[in-house]
């Protein structure tokens, strides 16, 4: 049995030295041999193995471990570093890549040879592994010395590529990969790269913004982002973890920093794009800003401003047109045309919201807020809700042009009007104006189509609740009942000829409270009419014993024959006018005061009536002096010389402007509504702070109107005075409910 002799250090190390030299030659390309044979590998491995496992004093673990590092140190210092030292730019990168690859080969072989150290020595002493040692050597002795320059070189290459020059993509990719492998990608490369990107795009942005339109700028921005992403994903020469940071940086420089200036540019900003219907550009803007946090809010804001200014512009147009009309012009611009303009505007911008802005809620909100601003403004001094009511009146009355439209078109318009109403804060005021106009349509038989009326009420009800439309629906029902009543009255007269006054009278019985209130009349009727009224009164009270009738002559109409010299003409007039004219059956000339005394009308009404009969188109009465206005000293005479080519004319009596009264009535109702709300809130809360009470009150009323805080305060004080509430003795700012 041969006992193996322990290998001495010089001997063992000598063997290793040979292998190492061979390895260096391979790396330097100084030999044709490309690698070690298996036998050679086995020898090296075994040598090391022996030298590690031998007994002392021939156990050389430590020495070998130290030597391992020494090998690298020596090689890096003597061969590698000198070859890199004087190189720059792309040459540096190439050499670095070459040296790195060599280093990896060297590490692979050497760590294989020295493998045994890993098994026991390194582990037992928890020393850095062979790979770690090799890597640190490269890093400390080579990489760290060149990394600054290398980073700059890489960034220059990227810059070149951005500017459109050709570069070697694989070089870039592989060199960057070195950083990753060494583990210094972020701090030694990425940070600098991102900073460079930021500067680059900041500069680009400043250039582009001076020269390009918003649309073009957006195109360039989109392109830039695409290319940066490409750099990471497809070309792969930036690590995937960089993508988000890079994209964010580019977005920030291109889209965020100058956002306001871009979006609001007078010549090419969002507003202009909307005006010119540049759908594609707008979609691009949406796409790009969608990725930026709070980016869409910026765009939506510009959108809102544009819509608001468009609305304001429409108002201005209509106001200018109405100002330039003369007062008595019959073909004046009707202010309520603005309603259809608003509807058009809404359709147009909603299309954008649903289309290029992808139905995004932020834009829905912006549109809504914009409309809420200008839909509540007065137009030419007229409250907007009154205009909407006038628009509806026009749509639903005879001769309003709606007869030409199809049912679907009318239905659609009605829907849109209701939608527009949602933006209005004074919904209760609208209801009142609408009700007044509805009443007039119904009572003078000017409603074009009952179904249309009903369908509009239906839509209002659906949007705002049954309470909102209950009175209006009541009015429609009343008419139906009234017609029945009239029919049975006529039958009654037919049967009871002796009570028949000889003149046809049709009566519409209205329920008080459902209809607008008509002031009770002091009119002295001509005797013929008195008989009719009395006959009906008798009939009605016999049928409905508990009900009391009060007559509203201000709303009535009358057909009378005017026996003029040339021919008899049938005149369709209001009851007031008829009563006035019939006075001239008994007198040739009457003064203003005489007429007033005999009729019992009040001053304003009489002026209106006489004006309509003597100062405008059809002069049924002659007036002395022949001026255009009525005065107390005027004298009137039947104009027997009057004639017209037709046999029947309508002499209109223009209604009084009810706006002030409507607003006053609604204000009063609001006060009661606020009172009721306050009491209801306090009853359930018992004690509540002032601010809280105000807020809840506003909340409660919000579906119908927006209460004024001052008014709420006054109502609270009023209720304190009436002992519904008291101030909380323990809290200066709170109230208590008094049961």
């Amino acid at each position: 049995m041969v006992i193996k002799e322990p290998i001495q250090w010089e001997q063992g190390w000598g063997l290793m030295q040979e292998a190492i030299t061979k390895l260096k030659n391979i790396l330097e390309g100084l030999t044709d041999e490309k690698s070690f044979t298996s036998e050679e590998y086995m020898n090296q491995y075994t040598t090391i193995y022996d030298m590690c496992t031998q007994k002392l004093p021939c156990e050389f673990n430590k020495e070998l471990y130290d030597k391992y590092k020494e090998i690298f140190d020596e090689y890096l210092n003597s061969s590698v570093w000198p070859s890199l030292r004087d190189k720059h730019h792309e040459f540096l990168l190439r050499e670095l890549l070459r040296r790195w690859n060599s280093h990896k080969v060297m590490t692979r072989w050497l760590s294989r040879f020295f493998r045994y150290l890993e098994c026991y020595y390194i582990e037992r002493r928890t020393l850095p592994s062979l790979n770690t040692v090799a890597l640190s050597c490269f890093r400390d002795l080579t990489f760290d010395k060149v990394k600054a320059m290398a980073t700059d070189a890489i960034i220059s290459l990227i810059h070149k590529e951005r500017e459109g020059e050709q570069i070697d993509p694989s070089l870039l990719k592989n060199v960057v990969h070195i950083y990753v492998e060494i583990g210094v990608y972020e701090q030694d490369f990425e940070v600098a790269m991102i900073a460079d990107a930021s500067t680059y795009y900041a500069r680009k942005a400043t250039n582009w913004i001076e020269v390009d339109s918003f649309a073009d700028y957006m195109l360039k921005a989109e392109e830039s982002l695409k290319r940066e992403r490409y750099r990471v994903r497809e070309a792969g020469y930036l690590h995937s973890s960089t993508e988000n940071k890079l994209v964010e940086t580019v977005q920030h420089e291109l889209l965020v920093t100058h956002a306001t200036r871009l979006l609001e540019n007078d010549n090419s900003g969002c507003g202009v794009l909307l005006r010119d219907d540049k759908v594609e550009d707008l979609s691009r803007i949406y796409r790009l800003y969608h990725e930026i946090p709070k980016g869409l809010e910026l765009v939506a804001n510009t959108f809102k401003k544009h819509v608001t200014s468009e609305g304001a512009r429409l108002i201005q147009q209509v106001e200018e047109a109405s100002n330039s009309q003369t007062i008595n012009s019959s073909s004046g611009v009707q202010e309520h045309s603005i309603v259809s303009k608003f509807i058009e505007l809404h359709d147009r911008f909603m299309a954008y919201v649903k289309g290029c802005f992808m139905n995004n809620n932020i834009f829905h909100k912006a549109l809504k807020e914009a409309f809420e601003v200008f839909c509540n403004k007065n137009v030419a001094g007229i409250p907007s809700v009154e205009l909407v009511a006038a628009f509806c009146d026009n749509m639903l009355k005879k001769g309003g042009g709606s007869e030409k439209l199809s049912d679907e078109a009318i239905d659609e318009t009605q829907e849109k009007v209701v939608y527009l109403l949602v933006y209005n804060t004074d919904k209760d005021l609208f209801a009142e104006f609408y009700r007044k106009k509805l009443a007039r349509r119904l009572l003078s038989d000017r409603s074009a189509n009952e179904d249309h009326e009903k369908s509009f009420l239906c839509k209002l009800k659906r949007q705002f609740g049954g309470h909102y439309t209950s009175k209006m629906e009541g009015m429609m029902t009343d008419l139906v009942i009234a017609k029945d009543c009239q029919r049975s009255y006529e039958q009654y007269l037919h049967i009871n000829q002796h009570v028949n006054p000889g003149i046809d009278l049709s009566v519409t019985v209205l329920t008080t409270g459902t209809w607008p209130s008509y002031k009770s009349c002091s009119l002295n009727l001509p005797s013929e009419m008195v008989k009719c009224v009395e006959a009906f009164n008798e009939y009605y009270t016999s049928k409905a014993k508990h009900k009391k009738l009060s007559w509203a002559f201000s709303m009535g109409a009358c057909n009378i024959h005017g026996k003029f010299q040339k021919k008899t003409i049938e005149l369709i007039v209001s009851t007031y006018q008829a009563a006035t004219l019939l006075l001239f059956n008994n007198a040739d000339k009457l003064s203003f005061l005489e007429i007033k005394t005999q009729l019992g009308l009040d001053y304003e009404d009489l002026v209106r009536v006489l004006h309509s009969l003597s100062c405008v188109k059809y002069k049924i009465l002659c007036k002395e002096p022949n001026t255009k206005t009525i005065s107390q000293n005027d004298i009137f005479e039947f104009n027997s010389g009057f004639t017209d080519r037709v046999r029947r004319i309508k002499v209109p009596l223009p209604p009084i402007d009810e706006r002030k009264k409507v607003v006053k009535d609604v204000d009063k109702d609001r006060k009661y509504a606020i009172d009721a709300a306050i009491v209801r809130i306090m009853k359930s809360r018992k004690t509540l702070g002032h601010q809280q009470l105000v807020l809840e009150c506003i909340e409660m009323m919000s579906c119908m109107f927006k209460p004024d805080v001052k008014v709420i305060k006054k109502r609270i004080e009023n209720l304190i005075g009436q002992d519904y509430l008291e101030r909380d003795p323990n809290d200066a700012n709170a109230y208590r409910y008094l049961a």
Partner: protein, 259 residues
Amino acid sequence: MHKLGRGQRDKLQQFITITGASDKVALQALKASDWHLEGAFDVFYSQPQLKTVADSRHLEKLYNRYKDQYVDMILADGITLLCNDLQVDPQDIVMLVLSWHMKAGTMCEFSKQEFISGLQSLGIDSLEKFRERIPYMRSELTDEQKFREIYNFAFGWAKEKGQKSLALDTAIGMWQLLFAEKQWPLVDHWCQFLQARHNKAISRDTWSQLLEFAKTVDGNLSNYDSEGAWPYLIDDFVEYLQENGIIRKSEDADSSLKL
């Protein structure tokens, strides 16, 4: 008797002057209230055995001196006579304090019940005692709590019977009287404001809240909360002051009350 300090001796003297009590009683009352004059008065007047017995016969006699010829009440003439006897001006605010003690329903008249019970509660049964009580009644105005009660009492007392609100002229007169005592620097502006902008009667709520306003809000309105529960008239007053440059608006004051 241990020695009294100078301050204590002064207080003792004051007490005796005002209440007419004996040395011993005065000392007791002051000690019991830890040498606070106000508290000593309360102690003195609330203790039955210390109270001077108000002889009801004397009270009747006193009442009859002032009562009206035709009606069983003391009316304006009687009150004038009373003021004369007391050597007090009828417009003097102490008359208000007196009315408060009597829980009088309306100014310028006292019912028999009011007169007698009022005097009893004050421990008065002779003109002399009445005169002696005057300084005490005056001093009550300096007490925060009592002033508030007297102030709030004044509303009901000064207004017309059967009315809910106080006529503006009367209110202004009362305010000027009351705030002369209390020293509220804005009282004149307040009265001017009301005459220029309001010109209507004053509600009870506004009346009572004005005192709180005068007490809590400082001279340049820096701690005035425009969103607070002040009556709208006071909010208007603040706006008036700001509009006329009497008070400068602070930077963060809400100039708009609309939400």
